[in-house]
Structures are given as structure tokens and as C-alpha cells.
């Protein structure tokens, strides 16, 4: 049985040193995907072309990683590469072909 039963207790413990310290069932207390850089997984990069974009929001709806950035007026402003893992869905769904998928090597 884990001796750690809630996230408040977890904060004080830090990295578990014995089996009793690991959260029960591998549960993550207070966890969120907010700080997880899924962008590290990317091998191809979507490149957004502002001129062709009509802000139809299809890419925004379909993006699995909340990577399409939008301003307060509902205009697409670009792609957040911290999260974007390069799945290519946005390029597939774009009716204006405003997103091009290019190898990461091009940007090295």
C-alpha cells in the first residue's frame, strides 16, 4: 500500500526512494499534459502559410495536440512547436493547402 494517498503529500516527497513512496497504482497527482513537450517527437514539421489561410479553423478542430494557435478574434496565428508532434492532420484537412509538411532535417 502506498503511504502517499494524495497529491498534497506527494509534493513534499519528491522522487520516490522506496516502493511505499510510489503513488498507488501509478496514479499521477495533480498531473497535466501542460508541461509535456510532445514537440520532441516530431520528424516532419507543418509550415503554415499566412497568405493562403482563411481561418476556417478546420486544422484547429482536428489537431490532437492543441498546437494551432489562435488570437482573440478567432484568427489562426501559427503553430505551437512545443506541442506539435508532426502528425500531419492539419495539412491533410486544410482546404486551402495552407500547411505544408516538411522534414525536420530542413530546419536543423
Amino acid at each position: 500500500m502506498s503511504e502517499i494517498k494524495n497529491w498534497k503529500e506527494m509534493k513534499d516527497v519528491g522522487k520516490p526512494k522506496k516502493w511505499q513512496d510510489v503513488p498507488m497504482g501509478g496514479i499521477a497527482y495533480g498531473a497535466s499534459a501542460e508541461n509535456v513537450e510532445t514537440g520532441q517527437w516530431r520528424s516532419i514539421r507543418p509550415v503554415w502559410n499566412e497568405e493562403d489561410c482563411i481561418s476556417c479553423m478546420l486544422c484547429w478542430v482536428q489537431c490532437p495536440d492543441r498546437s494551432i494557435t489562435v488570437d482573440e478574434n478567432g484568427k489562426v496565428t501559427g503553430i505551437d512547436y512545443f506541442y506539435c508532434k508532426g502528425c500531419g492532420i492539419c495539412a491533410q484537412v486544410c482546404p486551402k493547402k495552407a500547411i505544408e509538411m516538411r522534414p525536420e532535417a530542413d530546419f536543423a
Binding site: 497529491w7 497504482g25 496514479i27 499521477a28 498531473a31
Partner: protein, 388 residues
């Protein structure tokens, strides 16, 4: 006031479900457990329970819904059998690891092929290593009582482990016999409200389930599950005694029937123990010192209690209603292991019986006892009632 009814194991289990009134039941029917869910669906339709009854497209989905509802903080029950249980296989270790309490009415049926609807223990035994508590019931009364006890066992803060309440398909599930039901209030007071820890719906204390645990911590999380089973062994007695105080019925982890001064003992599980106990009485009348040890709790396995009950016997025979093809059948493997660990080297005969619903007659038990008495003991597996 308690009331008596002539009913079946399935209906008795469903009646326990009505009285428990779980928050969520997600189920997909399969023979011979269908009756449990059919009866419970009637309770839902008649407004006798407040349960959120989720009908799904497969057993895999049923158990998945159960695990997630339990993680959300709900009290959860379901039922299944045989290949339905097999289809749930992938999710059982997740329920065990997530420490999601679930009370599961498992109506034992042989796993196909060949397709066969009748009883053996191949369905539940295939799930023995995945961190669920296993209780095996002798009759309908025990199935009813165990469903209620299992809620407390499963949801105990130091245990938090799902429970299989097993009964023999058709023999117990469809056989009609008298069952004493407690009144609704007594049951409701005994089970109380679930006080969930780490509930997904507790938005003030957010948690994520299903996170990655690689080589650094996987082992440690498994070690915690072992600890939960150790706690279940420790805490079971208290729950069983509290249940006795409301029902007058006491169910120890192992049921020792005239074993104390016995020289020869048959070890068995579930409904066949009724026949064995009858034979014990008959043979005692003829002067043979025989007894029956029924294993009710198979996981966690009560090693110490079993070794103590069999210590000093001349020889024992273990009846498995299940095979481990190419290896040692599950119950006899546990018994031999428990005895070896206690330094006992008495002969242990391994007898396979009842596969696919093959009847177990009292004569078989008598023959098995006579072999023990006559010293016909061999390590090879024996097949009881096989055409040979």
C-alpha cells in the same frame, strides 16, 4: 426481518446487487451469468435501484466501463462467465493495478473450445495472477452473502482491490435452494457509502490514471499490489466476523469440515464440496478418519491457514476443476507449495474432475478417500470420471 426464498445462485446474487444498489453496473450477458444481469435489468426497469446501468457491445467494454467508473469514485458491480471473462482478460490487470474496487459475479463455466456452457473453473483460474481477490462459493446462500461482504473487502482503504465472487455455473447459478435474505436496511448499513480515494470526479484533488511507469517504478507498483493482498488476508477475518454479527453466518477463508482429527483429507472448492462433506459423514460413520478442506479464498491464497489445517495428515487429495495443460493444476500447485513451505512432505494426490460440467458423484469422493486410506498415492495427475 430476514426472509427466506427458494431461489437460484444467480438470482440471489442479483438480489444482493439490488440491496447494494451500486452506482454503476456495466455488463454484457453470457451464459450462465446472464440471469444475474437479466434480473438486475428488471430492477433497473422497475425503478428499484438508482444504478446507472450501462449496456455495452462486448465484455471488453463492460469491464473497461467498470474500471473507469470505479476510478471516478463509483461503487461498481458486474457479472460474466467463460469466454466473456476471457475477453476481459486485458483489462483485469489494469483494474488490479489502478486499485479500482469492483464486485464481480463470476459464474464459472468452461472456456471453449470445444464450446460448452457447463461448469469448470478454467475461466477464473486463467485470471488468477492479475491482482484480483478470488472467493469461491459453495452454494447460493454463500454467493449472496459474499457479494455483500465483497463490497467491504474490495473498497477497504488498505485493500482497494477488485473481487471475483465465483459460483459454479448451472450447479449453483441455476439450481434452486432456500436462501435467507437480510433486510435492505441491514445490507445498506453494512456496505455504507463508498468513500473513494483518488476519485477522478474529485476535481479539488485532480489525479491522472494510466500514467507510464517504466523500469524505474513498475516493479514498485506491483509490490504495492502484493501488499494489498497481504492486507486482505489480515483484514478478511474482521469483515467476516462483522458480517456474522448481522447475518448469523460466518465464512472463514478456508472451511475445515471435520479435518481437525482427520488422517485423510480431500481439498476442494465450490459446489463439489457438498458431495465431499456428505461422503465424509458416511465414512466417519464407518470409522474412517476423513475430512474435507474447502478453499473459499483462492487469492490471496491463505498459505498459513492451509498448511496448519493439513499439518500432520497422513495424505491428502486435491480436486481441481481446472487444468494447467502441460503443468500442475492450480489448486494442487498451491497446496503442495504451502505444505512444502511448512516442511510437510505428506503425499498429495492430484485429481482433475468435473471439466466441462462432467458430474461429480459421491462415489468418486469415496474412491479418492479409499486410495488415500490404502496408501495408493502417486504424484501423477489422476482424471476422475474420464472415459478411459
Amino acid at each position: 426481518m430476514p426472509r427466506k426464498e427458494i431461489t437460484s445462485g444467480n438470482w440471489a446474487f442479483a438480489e444482493a446487487m439490488r440491496q447494494i444498489d451500486p452506482d454503476v453496473v456495466a455488463a454484457y450477458p453470457i451464459t450462465p451469468s446472464t440471469d444475474i444481469i437479466m434480473k438486475f435489468a428488471e430492477f433497473v426497469a422497475d425503478g428499484k435501484v438508482e444504478t446507472n446501468f450501462v449496456t455495452v457491445e462486448s465484455e471488453h467494454s463492460a469491464i473497461t466501463a467498470c474500471v473507469t467508473a470505479s476510478a471516478a469514485g463509483a461503487r461498481v458491480m458486474t457479472a460474466s462467465s467463460a469466454n466473456g471473462v476471457a475477453l476481459m482478460h486485458e483489462i483485469f490487470p489494469i483494474a488490479g493495478c489502478f486499485r479500482t474496487p469492483i464486485v464481480f459475479g463470476l459464474v464459472n463455466r468452461s472456456v471453449g473450445a470445444p464450446i460448452n456452457i457447463h461448469c469448470d473453473h478454467s475461466d477464473s483460474m486463467a485470471q488468477r495472477d492479475y491482482g484480483w481477490i478470488h472467493l469461491y462459493c459453495e452454494d447460493a446462500q454463500e454467493a449472496y452473502d459474499s457479494a455483500i461482504m465483497a463490497v467491504r473487502l474490495s473498497e477497504n482503504d488498505d485493500i482497494l482491490t477488485p473481487v471475483f465472487v465465483c459460483q459454479d455455473g448451472f450447479i449453483t447459478s441455476h439450481g434452486f435452494e432456500p436462501v435467507e435474505y437480510m433486510d435492505d436496511d441491514t445490507v445498506k448499513t453494512f456496505v455504507g457509502e463508498r468513500q473513494a480515494v483518488n476519485a477522478l470526479l474529485d476535481v479539488d484533488n485532480p489525479v491522472s490514471y494510466g500514467s507510464f511507469a517504466m523500469s524505474e517504478y513498475y516493479f514498485e507498483i506491483k509490490r504495492q499490489q502484493i501488499e494489498a493482498h497481504k492486507k486482505a488476508l489480515e483484514l478478511y477475518e474482521g469483515i467476516a466476523r462483522e458480517f456474522e454479527s448481522i447475518s448469523g453466518r460466518y465464512y472463514p477463508m478456508i472451511d475445515c469440515y471435520r479435518t481437525e482429527d482427520a488422517e485423510h483429507v480431500i481439498v476442494v472448492m465450490s459446489s463439489a464440496s457438498g458431495a465431499v462433506k456428505d461422503v465424509v459423514d458416511e465414512m466417519r460413520d464407518k470409522g474412517h478418519k476423513v475430512g474435507c478442506l474447502r478453499i473459499r479464498m483462492f487469492r490471496p491464497f491463505p498459505v498459513k491457514a492451509v498448511a496448519a489445517a493439513l499439518k500432520g495428515k497422513k495424505a491428502v487429495a486435491v480436486l481441481d476443476r481446472c487444468l494447467s495443460i502441460g503443468g500442475t493444476a492450480p489448486l494442487v500447485a498451491e497446496i503442495r507449495s504451502a505444505l512444502y513451505g511448512a516442511g510437510e512432505t505428506i503425499p498429495v494426490n492430484s485429481c482433475i474432475y468435473g471439466l466441462g460440467g462432467r458430474d461429480f458423484f459421491p462415489q468418486y469422493a469415496e474412491d479418492i478417500f479409499m486410495d488415500l486410506i490404502n496408501g495408493i498415492n502417486t504424484p501423477e495427475e489422476r482424471y476422475i470420471g474420464l472415459l478411459e
